[in-house]
Amino acid sequence: MAEVAGRMTGRRLPRTLHPIAWWIWALGLAAAVTRTTNPLLLLLVVSVLGLVVVSRRGDAPWARAWRYYLLLALVVVAIRVVFRVVFGGDVTTVGEHTLLRLPHVPLPHWAAGVQIGGPVTAEELLSALYDGMLLATLLCCVGAANVLANPKRALRILPRALYELGAAVVVAISIAPQLVESVQRARRAQRLRGNDATGFRALRVVAVPVLEDALDRSLMLAAAMDARGYGRRADASPLARRVTASCLLCGASGLCLGAYGLLATAGPRWVELIAFGVGTLACATGMVVGGRRVRRSTYRPDPWRWPEWGVTGCGLVPAAVLMFGSSAGLNPSTVPLVWPTLPLWPALAILAAAAAAVLAPPPARPLASPAVSPPVEQQPVVESPVKVSP
């Protein structure tokens, strides 16, 4: 396997994979994750994500965020467990293996169903841990997609009908770091004035220059985008606009309904599939009709070749196996306490997703990332340091 990978990276040219492929891959794993609370499977998913991220991420700022997602995941688990310990759980999971007893806080009768403190059982703790791990793993899936795919490139290939929405998000993404920068600048400047106060005064002192600055900047950006042709369009008839809007609305509702049904295991399967299909169709129609009014082209569009198919496919394998396969061993019981086992087929399906680490081409890295400003400009000609002799 390793040898094959080596030969393939040698032969294949580095390039960035289509961002949609990464998203489908990660969302496929996420869909699989929603089906299980088995900690072994969840840990397996996180390891697969980690492996692929480490071997196929670039070195852009967003690509360095993986560790923060992991950290956030740990925080989610911790919060879930602490909450369950403090506020107790629902009565059904309360078991017999009591670990410790917290002082019980008596609550008035209208707060029925909520309890603070009381006995903490191993069953309760374990079920909180499983729940927390499920959420944390979902978070890691989304995080991995964000780390692997350039968020701005992903937005660029939004359907043309949603182009304005994408542009707004792009602008918001670019404004955020600028805002941080101008807060730092204003704080520094105010210290020059002797203002090192904190609290309300500091807020006012910093907020006014920062907000003025942000407003000016966004106006300038808007003017620049306008002057460069943003929002040019062929005239759209009112009918076309109404068709677009209604199609998109119906489609989105259909998609939501279908997705909820598919993931929530409630209700008959065929209704959900139909809702899903109709939603997709309506959305597609809306996009096509709406896209017709926007006339723009894409510079160096990301190609969709066999690595994209491969990554997408191996992401969908676990989703399919865990959703439509047998559910044995996916949700280990906590009452009574049972040691979770590793079900064979789901585990193999999740491992299949790790093939993305080999199927995806190595990421393109800039040849050299020079320091802040390389000496392109000419040195001023000064023969020798002129020193003043007093």
Binding site: A189, E212, S297
Partner: protein, 561 residues
């Protein structure tokens, strides 16, 4: 190409129009320079060309503006994007994407240019502006000059017939400005692009202009050949001022022309500028350099930002009664050094001593009593709604600083109204009820300076104060700086503006890559380097005259003897 017919622009809430009955007809392939005092309406004139005035700014435009046969009344800026390319003052504020290549392609994507054509044009533009080696770089890591060139390339890639530039070199060091201007003139000559350009520092561009448009204070406009208009324009570069003084006809616009006419003038002038002229290179000033009591002593200062060393072991003494200028290209470490000396900026090594104390170890309110710094963007200091409120706040901030120290000593503390008095001294007639944001650049700078000077620091640091100032405002700033020095303070100015440094500074320190490469009297340092020499010095070399004032004084002395 561009037609203005009876154009009058009035902004909402304004009683007077900004532009009044403008009739202009600008043919294809010309480099047109728009001049006028700050706030005269240059930006409005430029904005009217692509329709962002009034479509984007609001206000009322009477008359007709048409570009390449398209009326801006019916064509908003986005529908003119294929004809007019617009580059603003701050290139970073206009960037939509993150990387150089994507930014170049953005405009073409909006116009729907096919992908293969787009690819080819991006390559051509990279070569045309000499930025091919920057193609993969994030825009934020570029230097000011590089950003400006990318911004120009980004609009050029869409092949507009008209290029509109609003002060493209105002934030650039002399060398970077020359590169940008060289690129612009090349566009005019090679591609026949019509360029409309507004600029404060006329000494950089006036010789390249084919036509001059002057916006007069009442909003009317006159246009003509640069030589005719420069004879009595309200703003004039030193070479023109010198030509007017010496009575040269035709008026020279470039150093080359002026130098050929300067032979008789050089003979009439005394060998050395007379002492009477209160300016940099006179003998008295030269003797004074290094004579005053050191007020601030900085030794082996080191400032690092992450892996980048901004200041590399700089040693500098600032003396009473001395104006020093720090020069050097963008990113040479000028600002970092100023902030480190004030004590609020990072400093990883070295010693700063002001009156026996290290300002970095004091509370901010105490440090500002020793060293006052006006940052690059003075509006960062201001946060209240009116000038009067800012002045009152300035007094009470200063009071806090002073009383903390003199609490035990008797005597009345700082008299109220100190800030207002300082403001009136620097910029008389600023209305109390005005919003600081609405003031002109010069007035805002004066207000920030007044606030910083209220607690009477003896060392004053100014970071890039001439940005956005026209010649009269700059002359006023020279007076302010000299009077501060005359009070016995020490003033240090970080600046790109060679003409300002020549007029204001006794001493010039040149920084390159965080190290001092030259430090000495202004006349010696600036004349030894073509990049930093003022126009007067280039014209009159080998005579050591730096400013037109000195020449006037020299002529008076020469006539008397």
């Amino acid at each position: 190409m561009i037609e203005f017919e009876g154009v009058t622009v009035t902004y909402p809430g304004a009683s007077e129009p900004v532009l009044r009955h403008v009739d202009l007809s600008l043919p294809e392939g010309e480099l047109v320079l728009v001049v006028g005092r700050t706030g005269a309406g240059k930006s409005t004139l430029l904005g009217a060309v692509n329709g962002s005035v009034p479509h984007f700014t609001g206000g009322r435009l009477r008359g007709r503006v048409s570009v390449a046969g398209r009326d801006t009344r019916t064509h908003p800026p986005r529908e003119l994007a294929d004809v007019v390319g617009m580059v603003g003052q701050d290139p970073l504020a206009g960037f939509v994407t993150d990387f150089v290549e994507e930014e170049l392609a953005y405009g073409m994507e909006q116009l729907g240019v096919p992908a293969d054509v787009m690819r080819r044009r991006v390559e051509e533009t990279l070569d045309l502006l000499g930025i091919a080696d920057l193609r993969d770089r994030p825009l934020r890591t570029l230097s000011g000059g590089q950003q400006q060139r990318v911004a120009i390339g980004a609009v050029l890639a869409a092949h507009p017939a008209v290029l509109v530039l609003d002060e493209p070199t105002s934030a650039l060091d002399p060398t970077a400005a020359e590169e940008v201007l060289a690129n612009i003139t090349r566009l005019v000559h090679d591609l026949g692009t019509t360029v409309l350009l507004a600029e404060h520092r006329l000494e950089r561009v006036v010789q390249y202009a084919d036509r001059l448009v002057e916006v007069l204070p009442d909003g009317s406009v006159r246009d003509g050949s640069p030589v005719d208009l420069m004879a009595d324009a309200a703003v004039a570069p030193p070479v023109v001022s010198l030509g007017r003084l010496a009575g040269w006809t035709p008026l020279p616009l470039s150093v080359r022309d002026a130098r050929r006419m300067a032979e008789p003038l050089r003979r009439r002038l005394p060998e050395v500028p007379p002492d009477g002229s209160r300016s940099a290179a006179s003998r008295a000033d030269r003797a004074k350099v290094g004579q005053g009591i050191p007020l601030l002593s900085a030794q082996r200062i080191v400032v690092r930002h992450g892996a980048v060393v901004a200041v590399r072991g700089v040693t500098l003494d600032l003396r009473a009664g001395e104006v020093a200028a720090i020069m050097g290209r963008n990113g040479a470490g000028k600002s970092s050094l100023l902030w480190a000396m004030q004590g609020q900026g990072p400093r990883q090594g070295g010693i700063v001593r002001v009156a026996g104390q290290d300002p970095a170890r004091l509370a901010p309110s105490q440090a500002r009593r020793l060293v006052g710094l006006v940052p690059q963007d003075p509006s960062d200091l201001l946060y209240l709604e009116t000038v009067a409120a800012e002045c009152a706040q300035g007094d009470s901030d200063a009071l806090e600083a002073v009383t903390r120290r003199r609490r035990k000593a008797s005597g009345s503390p700082l008299p109220t109204g100190t800030t207002r008095r300082l403001l009136d001294r620097f910029a008389p007639g600023v209305p109390d009820e005005a919003h600081p944001h609405d003031l002109s650049e010069g007035q805002r700078l004066a207000l920030a300076l007044a606030v910083q000077l209220a607690p009477e620091p003896r060392v004053v640091l100014l970071d890039e104060p001439t940005r956005g100032l026209d010649y009269p405002a700059k002359a006023a700033l020279v007076e302010v700086v000299r009077s501060l020095a005359a009070d016995g303070r020490s003033v240090l100015v970080a600046t790109h503006d060679v003409e300002f440094a020549a007029a204001a500074a006794d001493r010039v320190v040149v920084l390159a890559a965080g190290e001092v490469v030259a430090d000495g009297p202004t006349a010696e340092v600036v004349t030894s380097s073509p990049a930093f020499a003022p126009q007067t010095a280039k014209i009159l070399a080998p005579l050591p005259y730096l400013t037109v004032d000195q020449v006037a004084c020299g002529l008076a002395v020469g006539a008397a003897s």
